[in-house]
Each structure stands twice: as C-alpha cells, then as structure tokens.
Symmetry: C2
Subunit: 354 residues, 2 copies
C-alpha cells in the first residue's frame, strides 16, 4: 500500500493536531458534477454504475481531481445489503430506490440470510480495492453503510416513504419481529464494514438517515442499539493505524450524548445543531463532522465564505473537527460553489490550529 | 356567546388544574375521515372548501361528532395570507400547494401589501364566526396561521420544496430582502390572528412547519424573531378570558428555551423530543402540547394505548399538558384508531390530575 500523503482527515477524527481543518462533502461524487453525469450516462442505470468497480472508482476520484478534498468516499448506495439479501433493488426515475420483494412478515424476515461480503457484495469490495489502489495514498478512503433502522425502513416499505406506515406499524405492533430484522441487519452491516476495511477502507461511516424520525425511546431501542452493536464488532485497526468510525443520525441533534457513548470516534452533525454547543456536550469524547447547511451552497461565494467562517468560529480552536455539509450536496449546486466552500475551510481554519 | 361547557383545553394551556388531560389532533378535520372526503367532494377544489364558510364549518365539526375532543380547530389552509396578498394559491393533485405568482425579487416583495382580514380574508373570518356559533360552547375554537418563515418559503419557491433552493438562497444572499418579506408577513399574521380572535377564536396556534430546516442562528433571526413579534402584537383576552397562544416549530426540539422566551403560553412538540425532558427545560414557563408519533396510529388499538400511557407518564403529574400528535394525522389512519387514542388519553390521564 502507498504511504498516506494527507492524513489530516484521520488525525482530526482522532482529535490529533492538524495544520488546517480537513474537509469533504457527503455525496461529493454526485450529480452536481458534469463529469459524474457523463460517467453515469455511460454506465446505464445507477445500479450498473454501483456494480462496476472501474466506473465506481472513476466517479469516486472525480471530485478529488477538481477540489483539494481531504478524503475520498466509496461510491456506492446505502441499499446494497438488502439487495444482496435478495430483495431486488432498482431505481425508478424521480422516485428513488425500490425493492421488487419487500419483507413484510415473519416468513420473509426469517428467510433472510447475512450476505457474505466477498460473495454477494464482491462488487463493492472490488470497488474499494480499485479505489484504494488508484488513490495511491493521496487521501484516506471512507467506507460506509446505512444503519440497520434505515435499511429496515426501505426493506419493509419497499420504497422511499414519507409516512413510515408499514415500517413503524411493524415496530409498534410486532416489535420482536422488527428486532429480528434489525439483528440480521446489524450482523450484515458489521461483516460488510469489516470487509471494506480488509479491502482498504481507512475510516467508516454509518448513515442513519431515518433514525431522526423516531421518538427518543424508539431511537434508542430500534436504531442506536444496533449501531452500538455494529461499532462493538468493527475492526478498528488496519495498516497499523486506527480506523475511525463516524456515526451520523440526521435529525439526531438531541441524542448526541447517547451517540457518543456507543464507542464511535466521531459524530456527523446536521446543520440544525450548533457545532460549538455540540462540542461542549460531547467533544471531550468524540470528534465532530459537519455541519454547514447544504443550502448555503446555493448562495454566492462571498456568502458561502461567511457561512464557513461562522461554522469554524463556532467549533473554535484545536483539532477534532472535520468540515462537511450537514447532509449531501444538492444536485443543482454549481461545482464552483463547492470549491469556494472547500477553499474557505482550508484558508480560514489555519488560525484555529496555530 | 354561549357559555363554554368544556374549558379543559384552555385551562391546561394556562397550567390550571383539570380533571383529565385534554386532547385534540392536528388535522383532525381531514382526509382520514370519510365524511370529510364526502364534503370535500361536494365542495369542488380544496380551496373551494376553505373559502366556503358553511362547508368549512361542517368539516371543522365532523371530528367532534365522532370523538370526545376537547378543542375544535378552524378548517383552513396555512397559505391563505399569501393568497390574499395576490399570489394566486392553487392545489395541483398530488403535488401540494402552488402559487401562480411567486415573489422572487425586490420589486415583487415591495409591491406586497398587508391584507385586511375582514376584506381579502373575510371568508376565513366568516368561517370562524359560523363555527363559533355552531359550536354552541361545546369546546373552544382554535384559530391559526403559518409562521412568517414558513409562508415565505412557499411564496419564494412557488410550491412545496425539499431543497429550499430559492428561499434559502435569498436568505443567504439577500438577507435584508428576506427580512422585508418576513416583516410584512409578521404584520399580516398579527392582523389575521387578531381578527380571528375578534371573530371568535379562543386560542391561537402558529405553525412553523419549516423553521426546523434552519440552523440555530438562522432560526433565531429568520423564524423565531418574527413569531416573537407576532406574539407581542396579539390580543390576549376575549370574553373575559385569556386567549392562549401556542407556538409549534416542527423539528424545533433543540430550541424550546428560546421559544418559551417569546411570551407564548404553550409550545407544540413533535415526537422527537421527550416531553418529560421538555417539561424540565421549560415547563415552569409554558404548557406543552403533544407529542405522540403520528405513525403510532397505524398500529393496533392496544399498541396505541401503551404509547399514550408512555407519553402521559413521561409528562407526569399535574396540569400543563395538552395531548396531541406530534404532527398532523396521516390520511390513511383508520378513524377508530384515532378514537382509541382519544379515549386512552382521557381514561389514563385521570390519575395524573388526582
């Protein structure tokens, strides 16, 4: 393996001194980039792109060619595990992900197996290996997965949902059945993330997109508990370095203390939480990643720069901060606005690390 | 005016002793009721229903015929003010509200006037008068409005949005222009709510549906500040009784202390906040309304009853709690599930008021 030339991201996640605040963007390999749209066109469907390791590598590296980002993130989808379980993932234009065979009863859930990452998810591991090789140590590679609760909502609903009618219906009416599903998902996510580390991932992130739709009590029981179980089962060292784990629950600003208690290394924050207050609450235990409002990037580069300065100032002096958006970059953002944000982070953060 | 026979709701909002916890539901007059769908069919479009005081009264009273609810809420839409400002509100099936003439530049915003509630919004005031008369003092009538920030997002976007591209773009790039718009909206909402009180509304609620999409700093400046200005300008007494004001910011659980400082009487809570913790934080200043996860009503009556018991137990003993869902009831909920919730609230809350 090539030696890592820029380890600012890994150091910040472990709250070790850095020269400036590292920055990357959720969905940095995505539709806002014309070169991504061109590769996506070439690939065919979105899943064709995910399942082609060479093209997945190509789009993973695209934002790094444009911007001085401090990390790469595997290009993939959060729903690869349910697909590997046999649910038949597909994307219908404008409607997001769908499953041909949703799981809605005990028989369907009991029939689910834990996928072998090097078999049914081999294409993901091949992508990780290819990307890691092509990165040549420029920046670290982040592996990721959806959280069990987030995966379960899609698996039970069969599609994106605003109502969570079936998934929460099952949670309230048949909690034991939902726990069976979540347990299988936690085992699958653990194996999947460990295989990503074995294949070359240098940090891990768990995306709990829908944990924030739960009550505090249900969040603790149906989302957080399974993320904690995953964290406890993860390989935490590779190539002689710690592999940091980031937990991100969108809308989870009220539960940061609980999240920090899972044993993860860092928390992803959305923009509805003040990052300075978050640091006061949990920053002695974990690093923080975030949290510019993604909508800021619709504004002018001057306004973006002011907003970056505000986030940096709120976090304050010292390491432990990875700059990011509070959620994925929107498809309509002009790439040069993303560039303005990234440059501002590097430039304006130096005094906080002096 | 008829004497109020059931004032449990008004008393709880003022943290005065009650025999049991009062309950109503956001969107209680809505699509989950077959009788609502029948009246809606008869009326024509959704706006035809809103603009017909007799039919608006009919649907307002429908849930009270079915369930022992402790309050009625005016049937109307949150976007009546922008419509009265001349933006041309209409509803396209399945896509939600739209405006024919969104406001996107200084000229359009400067041209906006403050509607006279008894002129351009006369149909709302007529509905309030009709409902109040037809209620005959059974339960109090709640008047309401959208918050300035919430109205502004629709007015600038011209439709529902998930990205907030134009509205937040304006907020970041031209904050002074956004403040001009919000100021006009605050004046309009104040006049509108005061006119509702004059017409017979006995409590008021401000729905800040989209304040929770802001950073804490932007929430304070662009949403909360204008709600505070409205609260300061409201008529707080009618028929010799206090007219309580409820503020509800969906996703605002991190900002309850700020909200309680506006001078309102009560806070609406969504289900992501623990109502017991919320009471500890602000319950010495305001009452709390909420906060069952609306998805609970997809589950069985037994599961609903357990979930109601949990919310009541978390709030604990004493007055100051109005039971509600944490957001509007979903259209697919069986009416008898709503009934199970309402009965459980009354029955299970008695010991907390003994």
């Amino acid at each position: 393996m090539s030696e890592l030339k820029n380890d600012r991201f890994l150091r910040a996640l472990l709250r070790q001194p850095v020269d400036m605040t590292p920055v990357w963007m959720m969905r940095q390999a995505g539709r806002y980039l014309p070169e991504y749209r061109a590769t996506r066109e070439k690939a065919g469907s979105f899943m064709d792109l995910c399942k082609n390791p060479e093209l997945a590598c190509e789009v993973t590296l695209q934002p790094l060619e444009r911007f001085p980002l401090d990390a790469a993130i595997l290009f993939s989808d959060i729903l690869t595990i349910p697909d590997a379980m046999g649910l038949g993932l597909y994307f219908s234009e404008g409607e997001g992900p769908r499953f041909e065979r949703p799981v809605r009863d005990r028989a369907a859930i009991e029939a689910l197996g834990v996928p072998d990452p090097e078999q049914e998810l081999r294409y993901v591991m091949d992508a990780v290996r290819t990307i890691r090789r092509e990165l040549s140590g420029r920046v670290p590679l982040i592996g990721f997965s959806g959280s069990p609760w987030t995966l379960a909502t899609y698996m039970v609903e069969g599609a994106s949902t605003k109502s969570f009618a079936r998934s929460k219906g099952m949670m309230f009416d048949e909690p034991a059945l939902m726990h069976t599903l979540l347990g299988k998902l936690a085992d699958s996510v653990t194996a999947y993330l460990n295989a990503q580390v074995a294949a070359g991932a240098q940090a891990l992130m768990i995306f709990d997109t829908w944990g924030g739709t739960l009550t505090p009590r249900d969040y603790a029981a149906f989302s957080l508990a399974y993320m904690q179980r995953i964290v406890a089962g993860l390989t935490r060292e590779a190539d002689g370095r710690r592999v940091p784990v980031i937990l991100f629950t969108k809308g989870g600003g009220q539960w940061l203390e609980w999240m920090a208690d899972t044993g993860c290394d860092a928390l992803g924050l959305d923009w509805t939480t003040d990052i300075g207050e978050a640091r006061n609450r949990v920053g002695h235990r974990v690093a923080l990643q975030g949290n510019l409002d993604p909508c800021t990037l619709y504004a002018s580069p001057d306004a973006i720069r002011r907003a970056v300065a505000d986030v940096l100032e709120r976090y304050g002096k010292g390491s432990g901060h990875v700059f990011n958006l509070g959620h994925g970059i929107h498809p309509a953002i002009p790439p040069e606005h993303a560039g303005a944000m990234i440059d501002a982070v590097h430039e304006l953060s130096r005094p906080y690390h002096a």
